[in-house]
Amino acid sequence: MSRSFLGWPVLRQLRGSDPLGRGPAVRSKATESLAPRTATADRVARSVCPYCAVGCGQRVFVKDEKVVQIEGDQDSPISRGRLCPKGSASKNLVTSDLRQTTVRYRRPYGTEWEDLDLPTAMEMIADRLVKARNDTWQELDEKDRRVRRTLGVASLGGATLDNEENYLIKKLFTAMGAIQIENQARI
């Protein structure tokens, strides 16, 4: 009831076309200023659903550097703007409180996670990768064939990643001689 007395819906009921107070007379201030997040967004990124391989178009609405809505892209000839429950849950996926946003570290024989800063974690991983490769390097196999590789490092994943990422993964691992590089395509 913070508005001026003249805005009191009872008076609006008496004055206007809505004496029963079921429509125009009872609209609130918030209702009058209603605007959808899609209209108030700062920008829209055109994206693709991250779940299955149908490749449905998504539009990602951003306001104040936060994702405020993800919905189907009407223009897509693949999906015609539609999304399944998973695609529809994309905003929930990317904005979930359960997302891991810091590095977690479990030391050998540890029983709990520990915190670790990202640069340190990267250094540690690089050290371990180089060491594992050195320790397990094979120049020749048991039949004296030249193989120049390591069987000490393996990798699994890629089907949820970008082509560019898969490209770098395979490129780096191949250069390092790691061959047990696999993904969901064989699972």
Binding site: M1, W8, P9, V10, Q13, L20, G21, R22, A25, V26
Partner: protein
């Protein structure tokens, strides 16, 4: 085409043996379909606040009537009982109503509009009129209790004002009181809750009778037998109306009367009946004994409370069981075909 399959009775409301007993012989065989036995309509989210309010509102309304009458006929004790009783009951009502809100802090939003289509809005405005007058009358009553010396201080003008307006205010409260008692029936009936809606013809009478019985009972408790004659007659008449109309109501409700007999609600309704009969009989004898009057008054009040709680509970139960929504509608379709304007269906939603 939609009506012809009900009779085939190929499918049941819910799994399991529950609900297919011989006790249903009084109603048509309830062969009907539902979605996993889920309710179709939702029960109100109201808790005991609301039946308590229904009871207290009735007590307040009846008490204001008795107070007004007592005031006009010079029965000070009865007037005092009525006015104070009305204020206490009304105050309790308001607390219950506010407490029951999902957002109690927004209670005043009730005064945002006048919704003639909303019994609750209409009721709010009725209470808004009734309440201040009832309160004024009660304050005047309290002021009258204050020792004369104390009424001469800086608030002297207030006491004088109360003295002047207490009487008229009590009369206004009395005149508006019947709507306080009656609107609550519409409040319940104007829902899709089967056992409430189908009771709409008789429920106002039941509630008004109940209000009279309870407030009369309060008068018998609070006023000496010499002044309580109108209270006894009021109570007796109320009890009679309540009992008779309740019986009639059940007959007109069809299947949806069933929850009034079963379970918790059924026990409450039985208790209400017994207490009201007991209180009524007692009332006949209460002119001679204050203690009989008090016992009878308590019985009548308890009976009224049980009626309110019983009807409330029966409605809640009827909403939770799809049978009471689906079967009456199916019966109506079988009888009259699906509802089509301008024909207006008889019976529930």
């Amino acid at each position: 085409m939609s009506s012809d399959r009900t009779g085939q009775g190929s499918i049941h409301d819910r799994p399991g043996p529950r609900g297919r007993g011989a006790e249903r012989s009084m109603v048509p065989p309830a062969e009907f379909t539902s979605y996993y036995g889920h309710n179709v309509v939702k029960p109100s989210p109201w808790e005991h606040d609301i039946p308590a309010y229904l009871f207290a509102g009735g007590v307040a309304a009846g008490s204001s009537l008795l107070a007004a009458g007592a005031s006009l006929t010079g029965r000070p004790a009865l007037r005092r009982t009525g006015r104070l009783g009305a204020l206490v009951a009304f105050s309790f009502s308001m607390v219950a109503l506010v407490h029951d809100l999902g957002r109690p802090m927004r209670f005043l939003h009730m005064l945002r509009t006048v919704k003639l289509t909303s019994p609750m809005s209409v009721g709010t405005w009725i209470l808004s009129v009734y309440g201040p007058f009832a309160a004024l009358a009660a304050l005047a009553e309290v002021a009258g209790l204050v020792p004369a010396g104390a009424t001469q201080g800086r608030l002297r003008w207030a006491f004088r004002l109360l003295d002047r307006f207490g009487g008229p205010a009590g009369v206004v409260a009395g005149v508006t009181a019947p709507s306080v008692a009656a609107y609550t029936a519409v409040l319940l009936s104007d829902t899709a809750t089967p056992s409430w809606h189908s009771a709409y013809r008789e429920l106002p009478f039941v509630f008004c009778g109940s209000a009279a019985a309870a407030s009369g009972g309060l008068g018998m408790i609070g006023a000496p037998v010499t002044q309580a004659g109108p209270a006894r007659r009021f109570a007796l008449g109320g009890a009679l109306v309540e009992l008779v109309m309740e019986r009639r109501m059940e007959r007109s409700m069809g299947l949806t009367a069933e929850p009034l007999h079963d379970g918790h609600a059924g026990r409450l309704m039985k208790a209400a009946q017994s207490l009201t009969v007991l209180g009524g009989v007692g009332t006949l004898l209460a002119g001679r004994s204050r203690s009989v009057a008090v016992v009878s008054g308590v019985a009548l009040m308890a009976g009224s409370a049980c009626t309110r709680f019983g009807i409330f509970e029966a409605g809640q139960r009827s909403a939770k069981d799809p049978k009471y929504t689906v079967v009456p509608q199916r019966e109506r379709i079988a009888r009259e075909g699906p509802t089509r304007y301008p024909d207006h269906p008889v019976g529930g939603p």
